[in-house]
Amino acid sequence: MIRVQREDFDLGDELKALATTRGRIGGIVSFIGLVRDFAGDAPIQAMTLEHYPGMTERQLQAIDAEAHSRWPLDATLIVHRYGRMTPGEQIVLVIAASAHRDAAFDACRFLIDWLKTKAPFWKLEEGSEGSQWVEAKSSDDQAAVRWAKR
């Protein structure tokens, strides 16, 4: 399941929702991405995540479906926020649940690596010298290459 929202999320609430609907889950792995207070060497005060409504949901659904085709998963959840956020705030949540932990760990890592390169989000950072669009970094592509089909 995927959600794109402006509001914050609560990991505890999301895990409870998963647990009440499933009986066969043996392990749950979660990842939360936060806003950092630095960009390279420069401090940042806030950032705004812009996205492409419609395409974002479409790409996240495709990534989610791909994870389910690769691993025996009982449940997955991607929650991605957009809008203005300050350091320490939660940006993204990924949860993968499976009967066995290996699939849950691998799928969680896969989901976050792939969504970083495929989901249409752009980061505008606010620093002491004004706002600046962040440029893409090749290490994100390399993280995704790890999961390319061999």
């Binding site: 991405g33 995540l49 479409r58 989901a119 970094k137």
Partner: protein, 85 residues
Amino acid sequence: MKLLYFAWLRSKTGVAEEEVTPPADVRDVGSLLAWLKTRGPGYAAALQDLSVVRVAVNQDYARLQDKVGPTDEVALFPPVTGGRR
């Protein structure tokens, strides 16, 4: 054809969204970008380096040789940076 611009492509072109009717010889993403460049200095600046421009046709990533038509939604944006580490 509906065009959408995101992030700095919007700032440079000064346009978030527009409806356009390209010339008849614009049939794919590559020729669309070439035509857009001729529409003004903002467009020329935004599309100067195509290695930092990504295109989606109807919300799926597209390549320069992919076809575009009058009913398509075409979006122009930088490489995604939502989760840069």
